[in-house]
Subunit: 485 residues, 2 copies
């Protein structure tokens, strides 16, 4: 509590987990709800980032032919049991409503941990013929998973997400859809979040409960750990069979549909924090930052001077707004220092300071959040300058994240080296694996690392056969190992 | 089920409630979930309307200084008990989570029926001084109220809504805020939904549980019944006291904050249906309609002709899209008749039919959803024509709804006349009331009508003293009585 009041940010070198909590608190992103286990309150500065993520992803989902719908929060307990692996995966994490309207329910309702089952049920009613396919639905919703260990944004009991659910006439089409949406996620992650990712398939033990195959985008955080940032599942006919979702094909025969599901969540905000921020607070890629720029006046003794400064500030604020820059003019009373300090912590991308002397010289003081020094820039053409800076900052953050990822993926062929590395450092290791659950479990138990993904082609991680680094057995290709959030 | 397959719409004259259900089914807006008591699935055509409602209201909330945030779905049961009237009002309707992560919870969680309590708790942590005020927050969320009798959109166990929650330094400011947001709702209702409303204060018995005063917008449905379309509450210091939300005022003294809350929900979609639709299906105001126009080709025998028609249709589709018209070009196989029938039911505002002969004559066949006859219009300038038609249809729907409201508000001074009217007809009655709970309860028991609101000034329902129509006791002003959804 004393710490909170002081507003200290723990340096990353001291404790990365503490730094993360401090950034979220000082950045006004969220706070632990306290009153409900593992829940958080998303504060306006955090929610505004989520709105930007939603806005762009929603646009891309619609552009790829999906429509939004809304399904019930509550799911009859029996529904989950219809798909054996699904219930096994989710039953430890369920929140259950047993009483409603002052009466004990005959069949309890589960608060949705994900909606494959309830949507499978409705798909079975909506789909009759091949003409009804593909059916491409997305839902923006809250879900609840009772997690033992929680961490803000990364793993909370309740979280916000979108879940796409689609049904297709063939496995080929379903797989194409699953990979298309994985690409949407990967491109969004790079282009909007400035967070490069590795696209790949999950190993069996990391697969979504009930899926035929799960695909993932994995990002590297500043500490070298992996963050699973989004997943896309090829559900095969598993839910089709469980919920009797059949269609008459063009030959007049009844077949089960092939389904996909895919989702990203408020977890992405945790990924943003751990990709870009520094020991002074939040750093946000301009495309997702709620506020691009703040203009802060330097007030002096003469009120006439201050009036001139105020007018110039308002004029600049209008010019920047007109140019599409999300800018605020902070002419509240108070010293500029504490204001700058606040905006720095809250991730405003750039700041402009403006006093009477600057005005006389036709300049403003400029500092960008991701750069160390401040400098004077001409007032003339400031809007254009600010637009250029947002673009430059966006690509500069991406470049930094990309080179970190490149530097910290290592190719290893000895399990001793692997263990040493996982003991002392945190990197992504590109190494051979014999393809068994047992080997993955052994490595996890001994080092804490798991297979993040079996990379898809075209990312510089090409498939080449070899020998498993642990067992020496044949390996079809190297996979990405890392410790993960 | 046989009825569903036939796709019949019950005429309003036969059964207004059946007509309502049929319109929602045939309009592809939603369906009863069946699996969970009183829940529904909002289908893409219904959800797209909600997205438009959300988009515009969210813009207006932000323009009036509010920021979005997100609070937990679950509320400790003890929180509700902190405000005596609030718990009394909501406890019969609660869904309760008693088991989570396979363990019985020590304190059960209530699924939020509304968030005054949980937000009150956080306001008490966020507010210290008058500098923190006003605090203007909005949340888009799902809520759950275990209702005995449910009806799609109008009253469902789970529904989607927004809830504004604000805290102020004085009662005057809080009241101003509550009335400002009521005006936002009233203007949105008229300008976007083409649904005129009466703004007023609720009587004590219709007040929100825990509020000092509740304000409402009341719309008249086609059957003369009232729909409470949105409410805005002056919470006084009730929740401030219950959750210890104090601030230091400019004089250095500690005071409780003055709060408001206000909300509209997916219920508005039910209001849209019952304001505009007819016996052929959905009619939607263009500002909220997912689809403004459809272009349907009339295919003939010669493929060369059909190709010309297809190309012209695509070109017109592009022109209309560029002009901001939400248009689709439906060149799927099949006869135009069944297509027109579907689009009519689903509330597409206008349709254009186009065959080879039309093309030769430079015309298209045009029919507007709210007009009976079709006619030929020139292909030249069609985009401009379509834009004008959307504007005209919007104002024409509003004008029709306004004149219905005006015609069906009657001023009565005899309780016998009142009873006769409520027995045989359904209107809004503007009549004197002595201001007591007892009289309102008596009228409700005897006629089914309740006080919808005590109208605010400036709407043609000016306050004039008189005598209560039931008891003959003094009345400060006439109030609006009606049967309600």
């Amino acid at each position: 509590m004393a710490k909170e009041q002081k507003g200290r940010i723990t340096p990353r070198s001291e404790s990365y987990p503490d730094w993360y909590q401090d950034i979220i608190r000082e950045g006004q992103l969220a706070e632990v709800a306290g009153i409900v286990k593992g829940c958080m309150v998303i504060k306006p500065n955090g929610y505004a980032i989520w709105e930007r993520i939603q806005g762009e992803l929603d646009r891309q989902f619609k552009a790829t032919g999906h429509k939004n719908a809304y399904f019930p929060l509550f799911i009859p307990e029996s529904f989950l049991k219809k798909e054996a692996q699904h219930v096994e995966g989710f039953s430890p994490e369920l929140a259950v409503v047993t009483v409603a309207g002052n009466e004990e329910l005959e069949e309890p309702y589960v608060v949705r941990p994900t909606s494959e089952t309830v949507i499978g049920h409705f798909f079975s009613q909506w789909i009759q013929s091949w003409r009804d396919l593909p059916l491409l639905i997305n839902q923006w919703a809250n879900v609840v998973r009772w997690e033992l260990r929680t961490r803000m944004f990364l793993r909370t009991t309740e979280f916000l997400w979108q879940e796409g659910h689609t049904a297709h006439a063939t496995h080929e089409e379903a797989l194409e859809e699953a990979l298309r949406m994985l690409d949407v996620y990967a491109n969004f992650s790079e282009d909007w979040m400035a967070m490069p990712v590795i696209r790949g398939k999950k190993s069996e033990s990391e697969r979504f409960a009930g899926a035929k195959d799960s695909y993932t985008i994995e990002a590297m955080m500043q500490d070298g750990k992996a963050l699973q940032a989004g997943t896309s599942h090829d559900l095969g006919q598993n839910f089709g069979k469980a919920f009797d979702v059949k269609f008459q094909n063009q030959e007049g025969q009844l077949e089960y549909v092939w389904q996909t599901s895919w989702g990203v969540s408020t977890r992405l905000i945790g990924g943003l924090v751990m990709t870009h921020s520094d020991d002074d607070g939040l750093i946000l890629p301009p495309k997702l930052a709620p506020t691009h720029a703040v203009i802060v006046p330097f007030f002096r003794k003469k009120e006439a001077d201050n009036q001139r400064v105020r007018e110039a500030g308002q004029r600049l604020c209008r010019e920047l707004t007109d140019a599409g820059v999300r800018v605020i003019f902070d002419d509240r009373e108070g010293q500029p220092g504490p204001k700058f300090y606040r905006y720095e912590r809250e991730g405003v991308c750039m700041r402009f300071g403006l006093g009477p002397r600057d005005l006389d010289n036709g300049v403003v003081e400029f500092k960008r959040r991701d750069q160390a020094d401040k400098r004077s820039v001409p007032m003339q053409g400031l809007a254009q300058f600010a637009v250029e800076q947002t673009a430059d900052m966006q690509s500069s953050l991406l470049a930094a994240a990309k080179s970190r990822l490149q530097e910290r993926v290592v190719r290893l062929d000895s399990y001793d080296d692997f263990r040493d590395l996982m003991d002392t450092d945190s990197k992504f290791v590109f190494a051979h694996w014999d393809g068994t659950r047992e080997t993955e479990a052994k490595v996890k138990a001994e080092t804490g690392a798991t297979i993040r993904c079996i990379p898809l082609p075209g990312q510089g991680f090409e498939a080449e056969p070899g020998e498993c680094l642990v067992t020496g057995q044949p390996s079809a290709q190297r996979v990405i190992w890392a410790k993960a959030y």
